[in-house]
């Protein structure tokens, strides 16, 4: 066993951390909360130039050919810096779906553009039922000549407003088996009949209600097999879930460091509060939580990278990290006292995003049930 990062991974970590400290200051993070687009095209372009968009795509699609574990290292840094924008939507949720299920033509069309930073995608999966299983998919796609016509409402769609394409998960057949009869389409976001309404969210991130009103999409834009699209979702959702875990690990690490630094500097009763055992014990618990988050996530990401079965590991990671990150933030706030509650302070940026990540791709309760199913219950 080896719990250390490789030399290349250490370099990727250091390089991305240094880059983001300069290019993604908290002032940008705050600005983007109020910005309509919610991301900086300039930062996006620079990230693409560094090869981050195509990090795990094969070289033949202008990618870097790195592993999912390498991607995890990068996403941890994105989480640490709270990088705003459609990175996970484009690269992980949609890019990896296309890589997994796309035809050669689709891969050649989409992946190099993603890798160059020229294309933004958004996954339109969840609906007002807000479930993560196939039964939740009711948006209909009906064949008409060479096209399909999509109608219905998607909800909690991240980054839909800036997407060039929406990867829309539709129902094309009613069946007793809810996983049967699902088809995925890459829908041009400019198609007539699509309307996006922003949602006001706890993390001030960019999520939307997307209404499809008789939206026509050519058959060639189908991703994967007709009626068997759920297989693609099953393939990509564990990766998306781990990406959320990695994001949370990065956030948790930063919250720990901010808090420990504050405890060393903040003086009360004539000495740094970090010298009080009440504070030390909280910090020790935070450090233990963060290390637990890190290794349960990286172990699952390593298995994913190696192509080993990892459904149980992914659910265990999401169940743990979701709650441990929140606990870490709560303790961080407590140690920061009143100042951390103020909007000008960075703590609240992490606390609000922790809750959003907790919910995304299934909260701890959801994943505990998946764990129960997989440990023989």
């Amino acid at each position: 066993m080896d719990f250390g990062l490789s030399e290349e991974q250490e370099m990727l970590r250091k390089m991305s951390r240094d880059f983001l400290e300069n290019e993604c200051p908290k002032s940008l993070v705050r600005e983007m909360e109020d910005d309509e687009k919610g991301y900086s095209p300039e930062l996006w372009r620079k990230m693409a130039e560094l090869g981050w968009m195509g990090l795990v795509f094969p070289e033949e699609y202008s990618g870097e050919g790195l592993s999912f574990l390498d991607l995890t290292v990068l996403i941890e840094e994105l989480g640490r810096a709270l990088v705003p924008g459609p990175y996970l939507s484009t690269v992980v949720y949609c890019g990896l779906s296309i890589l997994a299920a796309g035809t050669d033509e689709q891969k050649r069309e989409f992946l190099p553009k993603i890798a160059k930073g020229d294309l933004i995608l958004s996954l339109a999966l969840t609906e007002p039922s807000a479930t993560w299983d196939a039964a939740g998919i009711t948006v209909k796609a009906t064949p008409e000549g060479d096209d399909f016509v999509i109608s219905g409402t998607k909800l909690f769609v991240s980054d839909a407003h800036v997407a060039d394409y929406l990867l829309c998960v539709t129902r094309t057949k009613e069946s007793g088996d809810k996983e049967d009869g699902i088809t995925l389409f890459l829908v041009d976001a400019k198609s007539p009949g699509i309307s996006c309404t922003p949602l006001k969210t706890i993390a001030s991130d960019k999520q939307f209600e997307v209404v499809f009103d008789k939206v026509r999409v050519p058959r060639k834009n189908m991703l994967g097999e007709p009626d068997h699209g759920w297989a693609v979702i099953k393939e990509v959702v564990p990766k998306a879930t781990l990406a959320q875990c990695a994001l949370m690990v990065g956030g948790a690490q930063q919250v720990l460091e901010m808090t420990v630094n504050y405890a060393k500097e903040r003086v009360q009763f004539g000495r740094p509060i970090g010298s009080f055992q009440a504070i030390q014990h909280k910090c020790a618990d935070m450090a233990t939580e963060v290390d637990g988050c890190r290794f349960i996530t990286y172990q699952a990401a390593w298995k994913m990278s190696e192509g080993l079965p990892c459904a149980l590991d992914v659910s265990m990671a999401k169940a743990w990290v979701s709650e441990a990150y929140r606990r870490t933030c709560v303790e961080g706030h407590q140690i920061h006292g009143g100042i951390g509650f103020i909007k000008d302070h960075d703590m609240q940026l992490y606390y609000r995003r922790a809750k959003a990540s907790e919910l995304m791709f299934g909260d701890a309760d959801y994943h505990r049930e998946l764990v129960a199913q997989q440990i023989g219950l």
């Binding site: 080896d2 719990f3 250390g4 055992q277 014990h281 743990w320 440990i375």
Partner: protein, 395 residues
């Protein structure tokens, strides 16, 4: 990163499993084990330890010069994991073995190593740990047991507490006060090896709340210890003690015994019906056991990380404190949850006709109270993590 064991390590684990299957009665976990601390149990434990010794497993990580095989530390971690999983006898003794052999190998002189290591390797000589005292628990530096130089001896007087297994031990290793006037508190103690047959030693067994009596207090009344039994430099006993507690804390068993409990509980809830429905279908039970599985996975990662830190020669102080803290507190949560899943039956002691899972969870529930105290309390672990690990200022 690589979270895989090597094929060689997998083979070793299988060898340990095969050994345990052969050495332990088939119903070992559910009624086949002798009651702890009875003569029958001790006979069995000694046989078991000698069988371990025949495998070479009590000394296989040592240098060849002292009869070891210089095996990688990972094998020791795997052995510890399997012993805990199977609730093998003598875990307590095994830990003290690791401590005394580390003491001799890292701090002892050649003569001491040659004298003591062979008996340890053969599984024949048992050691007690004399660290705590009535007024020196978490504060080891407050050690009061005094050793005064007289002729060719140290004359030792005072009381050591929590000298677990002292009633069966041949020897004891203990930090004692040799230099009360040294300006630095950490330079006042020295580590002594004390023959338990020396006149003036009295061992008193104390029954602990789970019903065994292997926790002891040991009294020293002008006990003459030959000068050559001083380990390492005079005045450096505190340093040696700190190195040893790192070993004590850095166990892999913290995850594997709970894993065993989880597996037993899963079988139990599948087989047990409540109002005609298996308990395994109850959402609350599913929630509790899934949470247990997740916590154990976190604990396993922290344990393996500690083993990796040890195996790669990095400082284990903070990560060892972390696994000890997380593991011991988790064990308490798990035995509490497990006891409730067994319901009213959960309160029954081992040996009771109606006990479930051999009454092991009732025993765990009581014993685990000691887990967050022995080997350094949770509070001490948190201070180590925050000061040594995170660099927070000391009090």
């Amino acid at each position: 990163m690589d979270f895989r064991f090597t094929e060689e390590q997998d083979r070793f684990r299988q060898e340990v499993k095969d050994f345990l299957a052969k050495q332990l009665p088939s119903d070992w976990l559910h009624g086949g084990a002798p009651e702890e601390e009875t003569d029958e149990w001790w006979e069995f434990t000694q046989r078991f330890l000698r069988a371990m010794a025949e495998k070479g497993w009590l000394s296989f990580t040592w240098p060849k010069e002292y009869g070891g095989q210089e095996r990688p530390l990972w094998e020791d971690a795997i052995l510890g994991e399997e012993l805990a999983y199977w609730r093998a006898p003598a875990m307590d003794y095994w830990y003290r073995w690791k401590m005394i052999s580390a003491l001799l190998l890292n701090f002892g002189n050649d003569e001491q190593r040659k004298k003591h290591l062979p008996g340890i390797a053969r599984g024949e000589v048992y050691w007690a740990q004399g660290f705590s005292e009535p007024e020196a628990g978490s504060d080891l530096g407050a050690t009061k047991v005094r050793a005064v130089e007289k002729d060719d001896c140290w004359v030792v007087s005072g009381q050591k507490n929590w000298t677990t297994g002292a009633h069966r031990s041949h020897w004891c290793f203990a930090p004692v006060m040799t230099d009360p006037d040294a300006p630095k508190r950490s330079r006042r103690l020295s580590m002594l090896l004390i023959d338990m047959k020396t006149p003036g030693i009295t061992v008193n067994r104390m029954e602990s709340m789970e019903g065994t009596a292997h926790v002891c207090e040991t009294f020293f009344d002008d006990v003459r210890v030959p000068k050559e039994n001083l380990v390492g430099e005079r005045g450096r006993g505190w340093l040696a003690a700190m190195a040893l507690v790192n070993i004590e804390r850095s166990g892999t068993g913290f995850a594997s015994l709970p894993q065993r409990v989880l597996e037993e509980l899963i079988e139990f809830v599948k087989e047990t019906e409540c109002n005609g429905v298996p308990l395994a279908k109850d959402p609350l039970i599913r929630y509790k056991l899934a949470e247990m599985a997740v916590e154990i996975q976190v604990c396993r990662m922290l344990a393996y990380r500690t083993a990796w830190v040890q195996a790669t020669g990095q400082d284990v102080t903070s990560v060892g404190a972390m696994i000890k803290l997380f593991g011991s507190e988790m064990m308490q949560r798990i035995s509490n949850t497990g006891l409730h899943i067994l319901g009213l039956h959960g309160q029954l002691e081992p040996g009771s006709r109606w006990a479930r899972l051999g009454g092991s969870i009732e025993r765990d529930y009581l014993w685990n109270v000691a887990m967050t105290i022995a080997g350094g309390t949770s509070e001490i672990q948190r201070i180590i993590i925050s000061t040594i690990g995170l660099g927070l200022p000391r009090m």
